[in-house]
Amino acid sequence: MDKFITVSGPAAPMLGANIDTDVIIPIQRLVGTGRTGLGPYAFERMRYAKDGSDNPDFVLNRPQYRDSPILLAGPNFGCGSSREGAVWALMGMGFRAVIAPSFGDIFFNNCFQNGLLPVRLPEDVIRRIADETEAAQGARHTVVDLARQVVVTPDGAEIPFTVDARKRDALLEGLDDIALTLKQKDAILAWQTADRAKRAWAWDSVER
């Protein structure tokens, strides 16, 4: 997994509620495409006109947000399907952080697994960052600093946020959490042996 330290850039606003992972990446793209190469298909149903050209009304197509590394979103962002492709598509578009009032649970976990930082901030703070960014036409940047757990708005205000310590450490260090869990291998085997004695039915019913 990629390490995450600090991200800086114009924050792109897409503030509607309940943006689901189907909208972020249509399932058809996941059937035919792997983990990489999904960037061009992120938000494709809103992003392109019928003839395949860029839809000028779509906010992420505006010049000041084209290379934005930070997405500002509305409540319940990433709700719906468990597809991790939604995270891969956002990262393929260049995003390294998403700031929203709340997230879909599975999407939220998927973000950390791939080095995309989801930050929870109140709706009014997100609107303020959007307004400040817009006022400067994207020329002034927002900073997301995970080590210090602050978002610096374009006007320079520091807004604190919290990230679960375990997830923060994993992101900052780019840890392989499978290897970490396998350090507990003895505990896992001991649990299985004890459980097998206690709940034989849960084990013998799937024996071949």
């Binding site: 309940n18 059937v31 599975i106 998927n110 375990r166 869990t181 896992i188 019913s205 799937v206």
Partner: protein, 467 residues
């Protein structure tokens, strides 16, 4: 200490306390499907790990398979590659595969409980958000992403933080025409699409106790559409009778010892939930969604909302966008809206009782000539049971296509989709933009409501179709 059903399953499954509120949770069962299963099994190997407990992993193709009558694994070529991958990796790793056309194959959340793979008191994960369906038999089941799936395949465990608990009690008797689908849609409409975020939800109350296991699976299925990745119903004699004799259910003395464990699972009377909500069944009428989020739902007797009445500017913008996408007029009655397609199927509503309820509406009636109507049974077993009862004949006589098991039009990842601009009444779980195909307009409803819409050719109140 009084404990909830959720606590009684979670606590004994903690292998280690990882600190900071994190637990290493043991997973008793892992289900995988064609969309992500083959790749996950492959990636575990490529990362240098072995599949820890292939005996606890079960695979079935469902997402990217064609549901066309007479289909083969090649009918949808893109899916054929995924299926070939799943077959290869399952064989290499020793994971049981219920292949296309074989007994036991079906939509992952239909075949899991049906085969008794999912049992009360067990922890189950699957790389699919509707894994919460399986909570209907009293298991702790939740959907995970691709990385977590790799993790659990390699270790049989997942680091997890304990969610808060919520109870939703449905009290009273179901009014005529009101099904489990209407109950959960009404709850999502009332509490919102994010109300369950961070919670494990237990459904309780007299109306839930009265439900069949099929109904409880439907109820739990839509938990994720309320933001909760876990939905559960306490197991009881209804559950035990339903599970007894199923392929992977315990047998003999093992069954007796399982029963003793399962009877201790229900939440203690004095257990405390972080949030406790009640719905009076008298307040629920048959439901239909009007928008592009499951929370945008109405009684079928209702009128399409007017954005001018929205509580705030952002909601107003959301409603306007939803109405434009759905091609609806604010203020008009939802009933009478012309329908082009009807889909009965999906992990929400493709079980035998769902098909019986729809067929009961259809007997002696015809699908309106302008409507394309599909019924897709949830599994090989559902299909055979339905055929043994003659349900397939009832569907066909009415003008429905009787198709092969799979996710079909719910996910539209299998070459099957509703055309752009077409309006579909669907028994599935998501009315998201583009969910059933680019530009497709989806209205979620119960199987009986879907059958009524097929006959009327418009959104219709199933209560006017009483036999």
């Amino acid at each position: 200490m009084p404990a909830t059903l959720f606590d009684k399953i979670w606590d004994p499954h903690v292998v280690a306390d990882l600190g900071g509120g994190w637990s290493l949770l043991h997973c008793d069962r892992v289900l995988v499907h064609d969309l992500s299963g083959g790749r996950a099994l492959q990636e575990v190997g490529e990362a240098g790990y072995a599949v820890a407990r292939p005996d606890l992993v079960f695979a079935t193709p469902d997402h990217a398979v064609s549901s066309a009558p007479g289909r083969t694994s090649e009918t949808f070529p893109t899916g054929a590659r995924l299926l070939a991958g799943l077959r290869k990796r399952a064989a290499e790793t020793g994971v049981r595969l219920f292949d296309l056309g074989q007994d036991g194959n079906g939509i992952v959340h239909v075949m899991g409980p049906e085969l008794g793979i999912v049992l009360p008191g067990t922890v189950l994960v699957c790389g699919d958000s509707h894994t919460c369906t399986n909570g209907g038999v009293g298991s702790l089941a939740f959907g995970i992403g691709a990385s977590e799936l790799r993790h659990v395949l390699a270790t049989q465990c997942l680091p997890q933080k304990k969610p808060r608990t919520m109870r939703i009690r449905f009290e009273g008797e179901a009014p005529p025409g009101v099904t489990p689908k209407d109950m959960i849609l009404a709850a999502i409409g009332r509490f919102g699409a994010a109300a369950g975020t961070g919670y494990a939800v237990e459904y309780a109350g007299s109306a839930v106790r009265a439900l069949s296991v099929e109904g409880r699976l439907t109820l739990c299925n839509l938990s994720i559409e309320m933001g909760a990745k876990i939905g559960m119903v306490a197991p009881d004699e209804t559950t035990f009778a339903w599970l007894k004799g199923r392929d992977f259910a315990p047998k003999g003395a093992s069954w007796e010892s399982a029963l003793a464990d399962w009877r201790a699972l229900p939440s203690d009377d004095d257990a405390v939930f972080d949030r406790d909500l009640v719905i009076d069944m008298r307040d629920i009428a048959p439901q239909i969604t009007w928008g592009t989020s499951p929370e945008q739902v109405l009684p079928v007797t209702g009128r399409i909302p007017d954005p001018a009445d929205a509580p705030d500017a952002e909601k107003r913008a959301d409603w306007e966008k939803a109405l434009a996408y759905m091609g609806l007029t604010a203020g008009a009655p939802i009933a009478g809206t012309k329908v082009d397609w009807v889909f009965i199927g999906s992990c929400t509503n493709s079980r035998i009782e769902d098909l019986r309820a729809a067929a009961a509406v259809l007997r002696g009636r015809k699908v309106a000539p302008h409507v394309t109507a599909w019924v897709v049974p949830g599994s090989e077993r559902v299909k055979h049971a339905a055929e043994a009862e003659g349900l397939h004949d009832a569907f066909r006589a009415a003008g429905f296509e009787w198709r092969e098991p799979g996710c079909a039009l719910c996910v539209a990842a299998n070459g099957e989709s509703v055309p752009a601009g077409a309006r579909c009444v669907s028994t599935s779980n998501r009315n998201f933009v583009g969910r059933q195909g680019t530009g497709a307009r989806t209205h979620l409803a119960s199987p009986a409501m879907a059958a009524a819409a097929a006959v009327a050719g418009t959104i219709a109140d199933v209560r006017s179709f009483a036999a």
